[in-house]
């Protein structure tokens, strides 16, 4: 089985889907000749040509809008937002249009498109190349939201997203791109959207998280194992639809839950996860549900000191787990 990086899995999934289905095409800024600023579309331009790997003007709203129109006509567009931070001009298209087309047309029209966007920080990207934007969309019915953490999950979930008949926002943590490597089977497998995955079994504290924070949580779990604290790590993988059953199961394993995300604390997705636990697993709990998240400041700063302060790391997560374990 080949070992590859997270971003190589992104490229591989797109390549295989473009080979499989001629309706699939990619559009975005610098995705063609340049192969993407992160090189996620590397090699696709030479393999599939400029009409299927379309370098667009700097025009996020039209990238989403054109994808919606093409999807209505039966194409399967993959729209790349160069950075999740730059998705803002496209929000009207995504929330007002893509999310509602099936609903308001009574199933006559649909929007089978994928919007890929690199998000998250810790790469010295400064204020406008570091944001987590998932909470803007998680409360919008009609969208599906996928946030994979490993190369294996990337390939299987991106393939599912491209084949899905509804709009999928596919958020790729940019720090995972080259840092995270893993085994990826060569065969044409998919992972169903809406299924969480237990990344580590444990008995003392459950961590529920997604994206880059999965890896930090796993590192924290390693540290704590030496001290006899056994940590259970649930990777949500998909935020919408949410795998509620997996959450309840993970809560029951330990009775103590830490929800972790890099996105801001207030309004972040951890609030939804915590509410579900409070409503449906209250009697399983041995301690209050705790959330560990980015602080409620407008952005991740450029200053290395401040960036470090903003972002979570294995030590911060380990400390929070330890506190819960001792509760």
């Amino acid at each position: 089985m080949a070992v590859m990086s997270y971003i190589e899995a992104v490229t591989l999934a797109m390549r295989e889907e473009m080979q499989r289905d001629s309706q699939v095409f990619v559009l975005g800024e610098d995705v063609g000749v340049r192969g993407g600023v992160f090189r996620a579309t590397d090699g696709l331009y030479s393999e599939f040509g400029e009409d299927r790997v379309l370098d667009t003007p700097l025009t996020e709203s039209a990238i989403a809008g054109v994808a919606i129109g093409a999807a209505a006509y039966g194409k399967r567009p993959i729209a790349e937002m160069q950075f999740a931070d730059f998705i803002m001009p496209a929000i009207n298209q995504i929330i007002s249009e893509a999310a509602k087309i099936r609903y308001r047309s009574n199933n006559k029209w649909s929007c089978p498109m994928v919007v890929r966007a690199p998000y998250g920080g810790g790469i010295h990207g400064a204020l406008y190349h570091s944001q987590s934007v998932e909470k803007i969309f998680t409360g919008v019915p009609g969208l599906k939201i996928v946030t994979p953490s490993t190369p294996y999950d990337v390939k299987g979930l991106l393939k599912s997203a491209i084949r899905d008949d509804d709009p999928v926002l596919f958020f790729e943590h940019k720090r995972c791109y080259r840092l995270i490597k893993g085994e990826v089977p060569a065969d044409d497998y998919t992972i169903p959207i809406g299924k969480a995955d237990v990344k580590r079994e444990g008995t003392d504290v459950t961590v529920i998280t997604y994206g880059m924070m999965v890896h930090f949580a796993l590192q924290a779990a390693e540290q704590l194992e030496k001290d006899g604290i056994s940590v259970h790590v649930l990777d949500l993988r998909t935020l919408v639809p949410l795998d509620k059953e997996a959450i309840l199961e993970a809560v029951a394993k330990t009775g103590k839950v830490l929800v972790v995300h890099e996105d801001n604390l207030t309004g972040g997705f951890g609030g939804e996860v915590s509410a579900i636990i409070a409503e449906e697993a209250f009697f399983e709990l041995d301690a209050p549900v705790r959330r560990l998240a980015g602080p409620d400041v407008p952005a991740m700063p450029y200053s290395p000191t401040l960036e470090k302060e903003f972002i979570l790391n294995p030590d911060k997560i380990a400390k929070a787990i330890r506190e819960l374990a001792e509760f």
């Binding site: 095409f25 009409d51 299927r52 667009t56 003007p57 025009t59 709203s61 039209a62 989403a64 809008g65 054109v66 994808a67 919606i68 129109g69 093409a70 999807a71 209505a72 006509y73 039966g74 194409k75 567009p77 001009p89 009207n92 298209q93 007002s96 249009e97 087309i101 099936r102 609903y103 308001r104 047309s105 009574n106 199933n107 006559k108 029209w109 649909s110 019915p141 009609g142 599906k144 899905d164 008949d165 509804d166 809406g194 639809p241 949410l242 509620k244 509410a275 579900i276 409503e279 449906e280």
Partner: protein, 352 residues
């Protein structure tokens, strides 16, 4: 500004030149469709006043722009309308009953019959413009010759999506027509507050695409310029921006009162001297293509069709409350299934 028929119904020099381009039968059809759009519109306002439909956006005054442009479309061309294009909707194949259903708040009103490529009316303003460009891009990728049309008003041209759509289409020379009905007002804001450029058509130059300024109350000229724009698009020569200068005779919607912001002499002039239906009727009478009796009988027939449409719409089975949960995704999620069940059983929704 291109004008082939004067407000008095006389053919201009250009009009005479193009007169034989269209059959007499088709010219008569334009009037018949304009009458249908007008009779539909007037009845819709009455129905709103009677509480039989919801808030409604009237189109009276814009019949020539809507019918003239949509008459030029092939059944397989794509239409991305705004919320005032009922004339276009009727012409491209939306049954009268369904347009009424839309204004009754029924989703059936957004679902055209099989084969009709009409998207649901767009409300957020200008968002349909990049989407029409997307359908045109798909048409190009599929090596088809169908075009796509975005309908929008003067207000939409101040939105970013107008620029993004035209720029994108200009760069890739896509088969899309940007059809702007400049009716002078975006709710209460007059065009000179919307734009420093005197016309919308002139902005086309910046995108290196043809910009056409046409008298939007002249159905003949609108039909003619639309034909040319579509022919260019089908040949692969790219998009066209058409500005049809017209006037909304009534209010923005039935919830608006246009007398609060429009000068009465301006309104009077457009209603009494520049009406699009009167203009074409006068022209056809003058050219001997119709008789007054025919116009009367058409009007009567259109009223009957509208009556029938209302009957059909009002006799359709009431919406099920659980329809609230239909078609959020292609499959029903477990969460929505639970919420639907709670709605059906009227239980307190404790569980999400």
């Amino acid at each position: 500004m291109i004008q082939w028929v004067t407000p008095e119904g006389k053919l201009t020099k250009q009009g005479l030149k193009h007169w034989s381009k269209f059959s007499n039968d088709e010219k008569r059809e334009w009037l018949r469709w304009m009458i249908l759009a007008r009779q539909f519109d007037r009845r819709a306002i009455l129905l709103q006043r009677q509480g039989r439909i919801g808030t409604y956006a009237p189109l009276e005054g814009q019949e020539a722009a809507q019918i003239g442009s949509s008459m030029a479309l092939h059944p397989e061309d794509w239409v991305f309308p705004s919320y005032r294009e009922h004339g276009v909707a009727l012409k491209v194949g939306m049954p009268i009953s369904q347009v009424f259903l839309y204004w009754m708040g029924r989703v059936e009103g957004c679902k055209p019959p099989e084969g009709v490529r009409l998207m649901p009316p767009t409300v957020p303003i200008a968002t349909q413009i990049p989407q029409a460009v997307g359908a045109a891009w798909a048409s190009k990728l599929r090596k088809e010759t169908f075009v796509s049309v975005a309908y929008f008003g003067d207000g939409a041209t101040s939105e970013g999506d107008f620029h993004e759509g035209l720029n994108f289409a200009g760069v890739f020379k896509l088969p899309v027509i940007f059809f702007c009905q400049n009716n002078g007002y975006a709710i209460s804001v007059p065009f000179n507050r919307q734009s420093a450029s005197e016309t919308i058509a002139e902005r086309a130059k910046a995108y290196q695409i043809p910009g056409v300024l046409v008298d939007g109350n002249d159905v003949f000229a609108v039909r003619g310029v639309m034909e040319e724009a579509i022919a260019r698009a089908r040949k692969g020569d790219g998009p066209t921006l058409i500005e049809a200068v017209t006037y909304r005779k009534g209010s923005h919607t039935t919830a608006d009162d246009a007398t609060r912001y429009r000068p009465s002499d301006e309104v009077k002039e457009w209603i009494e001297e520049r009406d699009p239906v009167e203009r074409w009727r006068a022209c056809l009478l003058h050219e001997g293509l119709i008789s007054l009796e025919e116009v009367e009988s058409w009007t009567h027939h259109c009223d009957e069709q509208v009556d029938l449409g209302i009957k059909e719409a009002e006799s359709s089975t009431p919406a099920l409350a659980t329809h609230l949960f239909e078609y959020v995704y292609h499959e029903v999620s477990r969460k929505l299934m639970r919420q639907k069940t709670e709605c059906e059983t009227r239980e307190i929704p404790w569980l999400n």
